[in-house]
Symmetry: C2
Subunit: 535 residues, 2 copies
């Protein structure tokens, strides 16, 4: 998410989500902290989307709850947003405004032209934003694909025109800054896919990101050419195909499609199944197919399985476990292993493409975005090396404000920014303190010592009780628990009347003694939660 402000007018560019890292226990998704936008609620005019990937639109349903603003996006992008809003029962109140590449629109003092770019999904745009102090170009996510599958080329001439006119700042995608050269065209996967499908002795399963409409089109075209029918499996795959097809962005020949429920009746030699779940997400179709737990599809001896997707770092273990399951069923499994022709290509620009955009735009200031710090740093360093923006490369992190005038750039104070953790079940925000508790529970378990105190006499009734979980195996647990009860009893007996009368004090003493005892016995530091029951 990026915020552009001029005086009392704000537009927001993209509103994405991330999947949490493993240590964010029980967190389902991570969205941006919009405290700044809520503080400046009156000024926010619109959210403008560059394209429909989750890391650009995924936070929309959460943010629209707090900010009632119109959302601008291209046809396909808005169709995806519409689905998300429907799921959250927010569609009726949303104001969605379709934008078209090459057709400028105005929001407050901003005149915005969406510029068509090429990327791994369709209907992606860069934004040229004319402001009273100059023009900003935000590339969105892009690569420069000279031969896009849908023949809708990157509108490089538009960038050149803005460059001729003068651009105040270029804000550019840094994802692939580490790759030298030029990212191959989406069409580069065709030869390998064709070889594999042509040679396949039995059924073919192809898995790719459900939003990779270009990839899906190529698999459809190849299947037709090679005399195979196509089935779509997986909710996101079916959704995306349906949306793209409804918008005439996916060409599907009549009679080519087989319904998932009819897959088992088909001649496997005449079938390609396009299935979502390339990242081995736990409940995805492909994961379930791999362990033979899917209603309509199974992996059989000699099936060909093609993972035509990036193995996202962090997902290797589940993906390779899934692949192992398929090899055990004697499938022929193909995935990106660095050997041979590509089975997947990236949607992001490599170094030479990034330099080409810089050459066309010739901005006064350059701001790298969309990457981890090392990528922003390397993008900044590369642009500095070109000598085209000398001393005017601005390396900023989330929350840092850049103030631009026609002549000057200042890095101003930081505003609140960062991550908000969301439980997708309850839609509740999860506080960092709760996550820390969960990490503690996960690491060392929990121990609850309980004592009952007579509210009239202040005396302890009965013996202390101790329950624990996640600490030690249950056999050792009984022994440990009964010893822990003795520890609690001794703590109470050795305390004087003042201490036992003050519950805060006695709880803290119990906590400290028990923690020390347990750490000595188990080398663990469980969460100790003393409870005093007044009866």
């Amino acid at each position: 998410m990026m915020v552009v402000r001029y005086g009392d007018d704000i537009i927001v560019i993209d509103a994405g989500m991330m999947f949490p890292e493993a240590e964010l226990l029980g967190v389902d998704i991570v969205i941006p902290d919009i405290t700044y936008l809520k503080q400046n609620r009156e000024a926010v005019r619109a959210i403008v989307l560059t394209h429909g990937h989750e890391d650009h639109i995924g936070a929309i349903p959460y943010i629209l709850r707090d900010l009632d603003v119109p959302v601008y996006g291209t046809e396909f992008t808005l169709a995806l947003v519409r689905r998300r809003l429907e799921e959250h029962a927010l569609l009726d109140d949303a104001r969605l405004r379709e934008i078209v590449p090459g057709q400028p629109f105005e929001v407050g003092p901003f005149k915005i032209e969406p510029i068509q770019v090429t990327h791994s999904t369709i209907d992606c745009v860069a934004l040229a934003i004319r402001t009273p102090v100059g023009t900003l170009i935000h590339t969105g996510d892009f690569k420069i694909d000279a031969t896009p599958v849908d023949s809708r080329r990157f509108d490089l001439p538009a960038l050149a025109r803005y460059g001729d006119e003068g651009v105040l700042a270029l804000v550019a995608d840094s994802t692939n800054i580490e790759r030298p050269g030029h990212t191959p065209s989406e069409r580069a996967v065709l030869p390998r896919l064709e070889d594999l499908i042509r040679a396949a002795p039995h059924k073919v399963l192809v898995s790719c990101f459900a939003s990779s409409v270009h990839r899906i089109q190529q698999v459809i075209d190849l299947s037709e050419k090679l005399g195979r029918k196509v089935a779509f499996v997986g909710r996101s795959m079916i959704d995306n195909v349906e949306i793209a097809h409804d918008l005439n962005r996916l060409r599907i020949p009549d009679g080519l499609i087989v319904k998932p429920q009819n897959i088992k009746e088909m001649d496997p030699k005449k079938l390609v199944v396009l299935v979502s779940g390339s990242q081995a997400e736990p409940l995805s179709s492909l994961s379930r197919i791999a362990v033979d737990n899917h209603r309509f599809v199974s992996v059989e001896h000699s099936d060909t399985v093609i993972l035509s997707a990036r193995i996202i770092p962090g997902n290797e273990k589940p993906i390779f476990r899934m692949i192992d399951h398929m090899f055990r069923r004697h499938a022929l499994v193909y995935y990106e292993d660095g050997a041979g022709q590509p089975i997947h290509v990236s949607g992001h620009a490599s170094q030479e493409e990034l330099k080409m955009v810089l050459n066309l735009v010739r901005p006064r200031y350059f701001i790298p975005v969309h990457g981890e710090y090392r990528q922003l740093f390397r993008h900044a360093a590369m642009v500095e090396q070109t000598g085209m923006v000398p001393g005017r490369v601005l390396l900023v992190e989330n929350g840092q404000q850049v103030e631009l005038t026609a002549e000057k750039a200042n890095i101003r104070d930081t505003v609140p920014a960062g991550r908000v953790c969301v439980d997708s079940g309850s839609l509740e925000e999860i506080e960092e303190a709760v996550i820390r508790d969960r990490q503690h529970l996960a690491e060392d378990g929990v121990v609850v010592p309980i004592i009952a105190i007579d509210k009239h006499t202040g005396r302890m009734e009965g013996l202390p009780e101790v329950v624990s979980r996640g600490l030690v195996p249950s056999d050792d647990g009984q022994e440990l628990t009964s010893r822990a009860r003795e520890v609690v009893l001794r703590t109470i007996e050795s305390s004087n009347a003042d201490e036992t009368a003050d519950w805060t004090v006695i709880k803290e003493k119990i906590r400290a003694d028990l923690r020390r005892y347990l750490n000595r016995q188990t080398s663990k530091r469980p969460l100790v939660l003393p409870v005093i029951l007044e009866i």
Copy 2:
């Protein structure tokens, strides 16, 4: 770990450990399940080690507690084992037997020749094991490096001799089966390291695996050549350098070394620091240096940092976070990004090297080991394709027994095998049930409803208490807790006398009602642990 048995004699080849996957909460290390060895305790004659990497020796201290057997290994390998055993105070009782490449030794009916191989650490061997029914060759971990840094070449002629004589089975490393061609020599990193160190404007930090003695030697040689002193930082780095140097396996020119405590006094332009922690392990030196939390070393403006190590899948996030910290301090950070000359090379054989070993050994049976299932599968498939071992490739998983005679191979019953999770603090084995509890706690937190019952009257005393952790933020928590108390109260009130008298029944009713209530309110399914306190 592999077990070789003939009649009543068993030898064990290697005894490694793994680091746990993220979902194994609170588990520090994972070692092999040795139930089979304990059941056949009388027959186990020795553990024979191929080399000193943790995934081959790391379980030794745990296994020697259960099995009192001699451990055979080369000089450097045993020196590493000795350190581990010292840490566990087990060295006095251990029987360590040094073996020398090319010098056969006997254990029971087995005559074993260690054969020198090349790998990323030193003193690595394959094992030729003569048994009464034929010879087995176990490659250990290897690559075929024609120009090893220590000039100790892979003893390919020995493999050829065994091949001429006839080999019953070849058991081979499958780690790099996915890589076509030939793994570059360890010396292939020299040009890039030299360029980077030569061009460095300030101090140089190089991080590699502490066991990569060849890499360390090359950095020492380069530093000498380029007029820089060398400091070693990090416990494992210092330990390994010391061991290798004591054994004359590391050549360190007089006067080259600087003590860590003297680093800050040195001219940074005349210094190279070799530091452990390339995987960004939480307390490692490099991690601490990156956040300026190390006594002797800091990363300064224009320092050169070279990560000369593989970025192990699963470690990307912490490693790149560490790199980000160093970029923020304006260091020049270099790491394996696939661009340019290699900054690290693998120690494992690629496809052509694996085929070459097969060509030399010409075994009757082939068994791929040391890899995930997909790697074993692909290794088996590649060997089948060569046509050299037709129909005699045995693809087996952990625990499967292969029975070999001079003429036949049978895959027999499975024996207990798998992983044992260990808490390195207590050295206790952690049961799967405890890990499942922790996962549950981590995902959804814990709720403990407590009621006090008078042991004479059977009546509830006072009101129910409910404590929770890891479920909801503390503000909402109070509200939720007081409602949960009402739920427990209603459950008790609506139960009849028989039910309240039977604690198992009433606990189960409380658990069920509370779980239903909490799931409705929070969409979570916390661990609910009802406690009845008898007073």
